[in-house]
Symmetry: none
């Protein structure tokens, strides 16, 4: 699995977003066991504590749950994962729009700008 973490942003929310998408998309299915904290930490090149914190946050959102001594498992409610992803996407877009508008762009200008984006 590729992680492509952006070093300029905090790791935790990035992992949260990626895992939320993986769950919502069915890459990780309900009931399935996730890679262990330590293994995922090695894969992603981060500290196990950071992965642990990420899992706890996903737990708080109801996406996954832990079984002591066994591992972390995907929860049985796929809708929650989709809602989480939707919420993430919305907040990202809201922030982008908000900041662009604060800088004087209208919605139409933003759309035009986005259409011609090629990077």
């Amino acid at each position: 699995m590729k992680w492509n973490l952006d070093k300029k942003r905090p790791v935790c929310p990035q992992l949260c977003e990626i895992l939320s998408v993986k769950i919502a998309s069915g890459y990780f299915k309900p009931g399935e066991r996730l890679p262990s904290v330590r293994e995922l930490a090695v894969q992603a090149g981060v500290n196990p504590n950071t992965v642990q914190k990420t899992f706890e946050q996903l737990d708080a959102k109801g996406l996954i749950f832990s079984v002591r001594g066994s591992g972390w498992y995907v929860n049985d409610n796929p809708q929650e994962a989709k809602d989480a992803v939707k919420s993430i996407v919305e907040s990202k877009t809201a922030e982008y729009f908000g900041e662009m508008k604060k800088m004087g762009f209208t919605k139409e200008e933003i759309i035009e700008y986005v259409k011609e984006w090629n990077k």
Copy 2:
């Protein structure tokens, strides 16, 4: 002047962005004196230290300069302000696109999503 600061983001860069736009748009004209650090701090409801730091950063970008005992003045090169704004807008869009793509969206889907954005 309205400031509309987002409490969830750091104040300094927000002020930088807003002032850059004001200068680029001609709201503050070349040679014009900006409001004093203290006054602007009161208006925006932030710490004077933060305004001071903001001014220093705009100074570093070549947008404004200070005169001891007098205040801060807009520099005489309007192009620099426009470049600064352009650079800010590009980096915001690059970040938004990068994160959306990492979440599995294609450029077309992003455009579609942006078009239907109504918040």
Copy 3:
């Protein structure tokens, strides 16, 4: 036999408590052979290792003993089982009281609260 294990608590101590009560109450009588580790593990839906560990802990308390190649048997001293149960109950109550008092409740308030408990 119903086990009603609480998934949020460690399994081992739960099994210990339940078996202690069963022995103290005479459900399992002195000299009687307990279900095998594997059978009990299947019934309770837990790992055989966990049952094994539970039996060892009950052994350490003097409630049961093992016969190589045969199984686990209830010890001949019923008083020990009753003492074990009493000790468990006391520690649970002490913990509950301690925490409630730390949260500002007096003994009278706790009693009142307990009386009206209906869940």
Copy 4:
């Protein structure tokens, strides 16, 4: 301030409970600044990271919020704190009752036992 932490239980939830009560009872009032992470860590004799985690959990419950570079402040909705405390007390009592009943006690026996508790 006395903290009386129980060394046998995890620190984080203990701090959460104590702070929730302090907020609900008005010891810490809406808008008031809490002791800094580091200061509270020294007072309670724990690691700053643990206090940070506690504060984040209280934040997730909507009891407090942070201002970067300034501190943590009590939220403006006193009801949430009372609800949080109520929820903590209920879960403690539910757990106690559940375990006692699993050990064969009836509600009446539990009440009787609690009434005669003197430790």
